[in-house]
Structures are given as C-alpha cells and as structure tokens.
Symmetry: C2
Subunit: 257 residues, 2 copies
C-alpha cells in the first residue's frame, strides 16, 4: 500500500533526529533497556488521569529519548499487549513529546523457513496485519494494511541486524487462517503490535524503525508459549544492547543517511 511518508500530511524532507520515542509492549522487555539508557519514570500532564501507560525519559547520544510501555491491566496485572493499547500509548506519547522517530522494539516469533533463528535481531522492512480478514472490495487490502518502513539501508548492515517483513496479529498462537496471511505477507517475523504502531506512525507522519529479537520459532517443533517464556529474558538483554546502537547511529542525522 503506502510507505509511511505518503500516508500523512507531513513534510517529505528528512529531518535530523533529535527526539526519539521507543515503544515496547512488555515491562520485562523494557526494564534492561530503561536501565541501560538511564531513563526515569515520569508523568506527563497531557496524559489522562489513570492512563495505564508508563513513560520513561532521559537523553542518550545527545538526543531526547522517551520510552513508553502500555502498562498493566489493573485487575490481572499483565502487560496491555496487542495493537489497541500499543496504538493508544504511541499516539498519546507522540502527541506529548513530538518525536522525530519512533522505534518499536520487542520480542517476536520468527520463521526458520525464512532464515530466522532464536536470538536474531531483525530490522523491519515492511509491516502488515494477519488477523484483519475483510473479504469486501478494497477492504481486503486495507485489512492487510501493508506499510513500508522508511529506507535506511546503512542501519541494518552497520549494526549486523537481519532485515525482514513483520506481520502482526493480536494472538500469540497461529491458526491456519493467520498462517495463510503471514505467508501472503512474506513475513519472517510475527509479532503482536508493529502493524498497529506503523499505522499510528503513518497517521502522525513520523518514521518508524522496528527492532525485533526472536524468542521463538513459529514453524519449529516446540510450543510458542514455552519457547517465548524461556527466551524472554535473553531477548530483553539483546534489545538492551541493540536499541542503544540504533539510537547512537540515528542521533542528530536524518534517518536516510
């Protein structure tokens, strides 16, 4: 469909990056990175009272860095994962801190048939959905909602990341209908947020870079839930190292360089 830059009303001119918003879905994924970047928990006066999302802010490599997580369900105590809380937290925080760049970092499933292994760090080339099946004219393509990531060729090669398409859905498991669309989306990486974040980023006209570490092999022999829980900590540590490298590399320069 449309790259980020053509969905919005913003300028096509690449701006130097001076304010970065990082979105991570789980507190456990974010904790090592918050520590690494020395970010501090803060309130923001534009957030509605009782809003669940958690904002940590600071500076790194000479740029403002804001990291938001969607917070926890007040009754169940689990992270507010999925596309709706992601979109809302990113929108509210982007309106509050006006970033030049959004980074969606997190854990994800990977397909070994497309070359993914546990521990790999992927930079997303495209975002799409696999749980929005709307078989009406025009709506079918809308449901997929393919969005191209901004062109940043040096980022992956300089940092040694793999590059692949990310397909998002609100379920951790994968039923046959999901698998069919993930295959159609040519995705190497399966997550639960990126396409929602990409849609918000496109509405706001802010470029989105997505860094995903692989916790489980979707087309492997072991159950996703078991592999995910086993590798969550290792993946969070991988993000702790990968994301500051991205921040350092883009700081003060237009993203395309």
């Amino acid at each position: 469909m449309s790259p980020n830059s053509s969905q919005d009303g913003a300028s096509e001119e690449p701006k130097p990056v001076s304010r970065i918003l990082i979105y991570m879905a789980m507190a456990a994924e974010a904790a090592p990175l918050v520590k690494e970047l020395d970010l501090e928990l803060r309130e923001h006066e534009s957030f509605p009272p009782g809003a669940p999302w958690q904002l940590h802010s600071g500076s790194h490599s000479g740029v403002e860095v804001h990291l938001v997580t969607p917070g926890k369900d007040k009754v169940l105590g689990v992270d507010n994962v999925g596309t709706v809380p992601a979109s809302l937290a990113v929108y509210a925080t982007a309106q509050a801190v006006r970033p030049d760049l959004i980074i969606n970092a997190g854990t994800a499933g990977g397909f070994k048939a497309k070359g993914a292994s546990i521990g790999d760090v992927y930079l997303a080339s495209h975002f799409a959905n696999h749980d929005r099946r709307i078989p009406l004219p025009g709506f079918e393509e809308y449901g997929i909602g393919l969005i191209e990531a901004p062109h940043a060729p040096k980022l992956a090669t300089s940092l040694g990341f793999k590059v692949g398409r990310v397909s998002s859905g609100n379920s951790l498991d994968m039923m046959a209908a999901d698998e069919k669309l993930i295959t159609k989306n040519e995705a190497t990486v399966k997550d639960m947020e990126a396409a929602g974040v990409a849609w918000v980023a496109s509405v706001l006209g802010i470029p989105l870079v997505s860094v995903k570490t692989i916790t489980d092999i979707v087309d492997g022999d072991r159950p996703t839930t078991e592999e995910f829980l086993e590798n969550l900590h290792t993946a969070a540590v991988a993000l702790q190292h990968a994301v500051p490298k991205v921040v350092a590399m883009v700081a003060g320069k237009p993203l395309v360089e």
Copy 2:
C-alpha cells in the same frame, strides 16, 4: 473482568450528560444520522495534520453532540474499520471535546441461536474480544478483555431495544477459533470495533453505550458479505432513528436514571 467505572481514575459519581461523543466506523452508516442530528463537519486544532478521522458536531436535545468516524484509507478509499482506528479516533476526539458519554453505534452481525434477527437494535450489556488468543497465565483473560457496560436499565426497555453481549474482532468473517471464543463470550452480537472502544472508554473513565443494528445473521445460511451489503442502508436508517432517541433520553440526566 472490570466494569468501566473501576478501570479508571475518574469519579464514581454519575454526572449529568451534557456532551456526547458518537463513534461510527463507516461513513455510510453515519451519513443519515449526521443529517438527522444536523451536525456539521469541523476541524479540531488538537488533531494532528493529516489525521484521517472526520468530526461532525452540533447540538441535539440541549446537549453537545460530536460524531466521529475513522475516515478513509487515503490510497484504497475504504473506511478505516477495526479496533485500532476506532480506538485512536475515539481517544483523540474524547481528549478534544471531553464527552460525559460515548456512544458506539453501528452495524453488526447477530446470532439467531441467541435470538437475533436482521433489523434488530441491540444495546450492549458487555464487551469482549474474540481475536486475541494469548495462552499464557493471566494473558488469556486479558485477551478476552471483558468489560461490562454501565448499568442503564431504563434505556433498553423504554426504547424497545434488545440487550446482549457484543464480541469484537478485526475480521468480517468467522473462523472456528473466533466462533469458539464468541460462544465463550456468550455474545449475541459480533462486530469489529466495540471492544476496542470500550477499552479506550475505560482508560478515559467515560461510560460507553453501544447501539448495534443487525445487518447479517452469522449463524445463518447466507454469506455475511452478501447480507451485510444488502442490509447496510436499512441498518443505517435504523441507526438514524435509534441514536437520537438515546441522545434525547440521556440528555441532561445521569446515565443510571
């Protein structure tokens, strides 16, 4: 899980309704109601440039009425249906106009096994999701995300609406896994937005009333897409009559009366 009122930081005291925000997913659903309520298209300075949503505002029965639709995909020209655009449009507009009440009105599928017929108008008693399968401890219940509608017993009986649970998912079709969760959610009505809107309403601490007219029988003999397209106009006309009655009934009074 939690009723709207316990998810948020807002007061438990019922407030008289003086500002209403109506959310409808499709321009074709909204057009007759916009005309009926004599609302005018407006810009709002708090919306980001290029934001797709469309706000119509005016007054009816002595209260401010704002109706927002998610707008259309710029490339494909179809309505931005689904939970993410719904949540974002409702959040952005609620922050802009500060409603006392949100009404999510729209077309939906109904289950004849639960008593639904084409043309029925339903008031939602509960909201839940059927496309967020997350088989991890705590997350499974989070994925369902059951939210109870505010208690407003006179509304349905006075207006002759049926009452039922609404289950939401981002697909128009229904896979076996969806059906299993819709059944578990005890839903009479299947739609593509309400649970997302309910989550945003709970974050904002604003009560949500949902009015759904049935365009297709999900457990019937005919294809959903065919019935939906055939009955969309009739359903939009039903909403044109039903929603102003809800507005008139709640105007100036606390919702619980």
